[in-house]
């Protein structure tokens, strides 16, 4: 196991380095640059461009910039935003990351509880009215674009009843209940599509497992329906579901920009979105690094969890 973890960790580092390099290069090869954008709202000439380029360290060759960049990351320096001049590390870790992590955590929680729960119910009561109702809702939930649903949820209650969730960010430390109330709605909406995917997958896996011989054997042994369902069937059905959770994490992270924007939450998603628009290299690079680390870690943990779900799995 320790050997496996060491190998996977090394692989993580390599993967992460490739991501960092690709992002670094891509940002510099796409047409248009940060300096032109920065100066675009004023009169400027070539001398101004050169001056700003030098100030931002963009006058050096790309390999030199790359080397400097890697060295800075190694020392924990994520640089300063080209737009605001503020340290990226402080912005990301002190202001933005917590928001996104909380949103993600709640969305995953809602998605897992709802998706797996209703998936199991749907499988157990297959071909019943309840099963059909759940499947119709799940299909609809998968089809509805998140930004549309979020906008409806914001706009119509405000128009009809003058109600809208608070648009000022509530700190968890200062007001835990208010904070959870603020995050619940966007997290629930984020979980709609995610949960629907899990629901359909859980249902199909459960249907397959429930028809296996060992389930029949368990029932024949006299085990209660609950034990058979939860301990024998669900646990075995969960492997593909857990894998899907890992894949969906990247989708969820990509979707945070929509929900953060609509619900006025200042997380990583909106930060990255703005940074890409304005070619704010340090912010884009740092945010991508952090997001990629998150996704890699989640997938790493999921890989390790396989052994818990299926003890037959051994890590060589």
């Amino acid at each position: 196991m320790a050997n496996y973890i060491a190998k996977r960790t090394a692989l993580l580092l390599v993967t992460w380095l490739i991501i960092v390099t690709v992002v670094f290069i891509l940002l510099r090869v796409i047409p248009g640059d940060a300096v032109s954008l920065q100066l675009s709202d004023q009169e400027f000439n070539q001398a101004d461009i050169d001056k700003v380029r030098e100030r931002l360290g963009l006058d050096e060759s790309v390999p030199v910039q790359y080397g400097r960049y890697l060295k800075a990351i190694a020392t924990g320096d994520l640089g300063n935003s080209l737009m605001s001049g503020r340290p990226v590390g402080a912005e990301v870790f002190e202001q933005r990351l917590g928001v996104t992590l909380e949103l993600m955590f709640m969305a995953v929680l809602f998605g897992l509880v709802g998706g797996v729960g209703f998936g199991v119910v749907s499988a157990v009561f297959r071909e019943s009215a309840l099963d059909y109702a759940i499947r119709v809702v799940a299909t609809a939930a998968q089809s509805v674009p998140g930004f549309w649903l979020a906008t409806l949820v914001i706009v119509f209650p405000a128009m009809w009843w003058g109600y809208a969730p608070a648009f000022s960010q509530v700190s968890f430390r200062e007001d835990p209940v208010g904070n959870l109330r603020q995050f619940s709605l966007p997290a629930a909406l984020m979980a709609v599509n995610f949960g629907a995917v899990l629901l359909r997958l859980t249902r199909s896996q459960m249907l397959e497992v429930l028809s296996d011989d060992y389930i029949r054997t368990a029932r024949a042994k006299g085990l209660s329906g609950r034990v058979v369902l939860l301990r024998h069937a669900l646990r075995n059905a969960m492997l593909p579901v857990v894998t899907t959770v890992g894949i969906q994490m990247a989708v969820l992270l990509g979707g945070t920009v929509i929900y953060e924007s609509v619900f006025n939450l200042r997380g990583i998603g909106t930060l990255l979105f703005d940074a890409i628009r304005f070619r704010d290299y340090p912010v884009v690079q740092s945010t991508v690094i952090i997001v990629s680390v998150l996704i890699l870690l989640v997938n790493f943990i999921i890989d390790l969890s396989y052994a818990w779900f299926d003890p037959r799995i051994r890590y060589a």
């Binding site: 954008l37 004023q42 400027f44 405000a158 006025n264």
Partner: protein, 564 residues
């Protein structure tokens, strides 16, 4: 986008620059005192609010309460001399004062920290500093009195020769800034520029404390918003907004009425709608296209104000290269454009006034005059027939252009391009869009590396000189079409020195007619009314052009109070 800018910020920087532009709607106030004796501006921006000016109706303002306003973008840089971010202007007009400001009801230039100004000759501007003004009682300034040195310092800082200073070009014509005595500053100009006062009335042109700049290096952060304004910063955050509290030592006696003003940053338009409707904000800019959704409510009112700005919406390409170096081809394109159709594409269902070079009531030639000009007539049959003849005569019956465009700021690029493509097709001209990233488009503009374009170019100050000088003079920094007309350049220099305000307006309008005849590029300008939803409890509020275009709303809160 119109301003060739990086618009941060969910609303366009076009709007932001436009807001700067409207600050000086008035005529240049030449040889006049900055008081009520100043000549009336030819344009009167009227608010339709029923209680637009309650003080004049004998309603007694109440002290206390808190007003909350929305802002559509997070803060990147608050330094008013180094940014065009709207929130910077809002913050500094709450916490500080400008040299001049915009009169609330009429948008004329009126005194702020400059109490009086004079132009004794075309090369001299004398500024008299407001007396009994104190800086906020905090930080390095610690409540000290404002002096002429502070005014001179801020003027000089605006003109800093560094690309970080966005409006340095305003001061290019200024040769020296001299403090004559504790209450007088004199500007000596290198060449006549009578529009300087208008230009300096822009929202970001505020007076800043030297001590704070020197201590912090710049004014990018909230905590550096220390000025002489009606409100003092209590707390601020780059991503969520700020709260200002009443300045008890404010130099305008009895003002402000509010105890607090909160700026709430809400980047999503739907969220801003919902925040207003649910009472989380007191003021909300309503797009003209959404107006129908906002009518008939009792808990708020809809105020409107005519908008205007200098943003140049242009269609054209390189006039020094074939085929556009042939005036007949440019004329044919101009004739084929259907300006009403373009407006319908950009703002469906919104009534608009068609304009020539300036969508600006004071400086523009009247629509009635435009409507009889070929190319601007409502019935396009004759224009199209003439356009075809011209192209045939020029031997260009089947023209084709690659057009640079971007998906960012669609109402300035893709949307008008789609309409123009269909219109030019009718006279045999094919436009092939080359969609690119906005930054690349700016580079191509700068290098004149394009054949044809449909775009909006923002002009960032309150006087037409910026449009004239940067877009169409031979050496203009944004003369992306290579227009080189010595006669026009001469006219440009001359208008900068015309001291008589009315004469200058007339002359600038003649220049506009000259451009409409010469057609370096074609214009498709228009202006509409702007709208804002205002909570009924907000009293004394007067909607300004800058609010619906910016939205810039700083000193507007000085006269506002809460009732209900």
């Amino acid at each position: 986008m119109p301003t060739e800018s990086i618009l941060h910020r969910s609303i366009s920087r076009r709007s932001a620059l436009a807001a700067a532009g409207v600050a000086g709607l008035a005529l240049p106030l030449i040889n006049c005192a900055g008081d009520d004796d100043s000549p009336a501006a030819p344009t009167k921006a009227s608010s339709t609010s029923q209680n637009a000016n309650p003080t004049s109706q004998g309603v007694q303002p109440k002290r206390g309460g808190k007003a909350t306003t929305e802002m559509p973008a997070v803060v990147s840089n608050l330094d008013p001399h180094q940014t065009i971010e709207t929130i910077s202007a809002v913050a500094w007009r709450l916490g500080g004062n400008g040299f001049f400001r915009q009169k609330r009801e009429t948008n004329e230039v009126e005194p702020d920290l400059i109490a009086k100004w004079e132009l004794p000759d075309a090369l001299t501007v004398t500024l008299k500093v407001q007396q009994n003004v104190k800086w906020h009682n905090k930080g390095a300034v610690n409540g000290r009195a404002l002096t002429a040195d502070d005014i001179a310092y801020s003027l000089t800082r605006i003109g800093t020769a560094d690309p970080a200073f966005k409006r340095a070009s305003l001061m290019q014509s200024v040769d020296s800034v001299k403090v004559l005595d504790s209450a007088t500053v004199q500007l000596k100009l290198k060449s006549p520029f009578v529009g300087l006062v208008n230009a300096l009335a822009g929202q970001w042109n505020v007076v800043v404390p030297k001590e704070v700049v020197e201590a912090s290096g710049d004014l990018k952060k909230w905590e550096n918003v220390i000025g002489t304004g009606p409100f003092m910063l209590k707390e601020g955050n780059p991503t969520s907004g700020a709260t200002f509290v009443r300045n008890p030592d404010y130099w305008r006696q009895g003002k402000p009425y509010l105890d607090e003003v909160e700026i709430k940053i809400i980047t999503d338009p739907s969220a801003r709608d919902a925040a207003f409707r649910s009472g989380q904000t007191d003021l909300h800019v309503v797009p003209a296209t959404d107006l129908a959704l906002w009518k008939g409510e009792k808990s708020f009112r809809i105020d409107s104000v005519p908008t205007s700005d200098f943003t140049a919406r242009v269609v054209g390409g390189q006039v020094d290269r074939a085929p556009l170096n042939d005036p007949r081809v440019r004329k044919a394109i101009d004739l084929a454009l259907d300006r009403d159709d373009i407006v319908r594409a950009i703002q469906p269902g919104v009534s608009a006034v068609i304009a020539g070079q300036y969508a600006h009531k004071l400086w523009a030639i009247p629509e009635t005059e435009l409507r009889v000009r070929p190319g601007y007539r409502k019935d396009k049959a004759q224009d199209l027939a003439e356009a075809k003849k011209l192209l045939e005569a020029a031997g260009q019956s089947n023209l084709s252009f690659d057009v640079i465009t971007t998906q960012q700021f669609p109402t300035f690029y893709i949307t008008p391009l789609e309409a123009v493509t269909a219109q030019l097709k009718k006279v045999g001209i094919t436009l092939k869009p080359q969609v690119m990233e906005y930054g690349q488009l700016i580079e191509k503009n700068q290098k004149r590396d394009f054949a044809f374009t449909v775009q909006g170019l923002g002009v960032g100050n309150s006087d037409p000189n910026d449009s004239i000088a940067t877009l169409f003079e031979k050496t203009g920094s944004r003369n992306h079409w290579g227009f080189n007309d010595p006669k026009y350049d001469e006219m440009a220099v001359k208008q900068r020195g015309i001291l008589d305000a009315k004469e200058r307006v007339k002359y600038v309008q003649d220049m506009e007619r000259y451009l409409l005849d010469t057609i370096p590029v074609s214009f498709h300008m228009f202006y509409t009314d702007g709208y804002a939803a205002v909570a009924n409890r907000l009293k004394g509020f007067v909607l300004l052009q800058s609010t619906v275009q910016g939205p810039v709303r700083g000193h507007e809160f000085e006269d506002v109070w809460i009732d209900g």
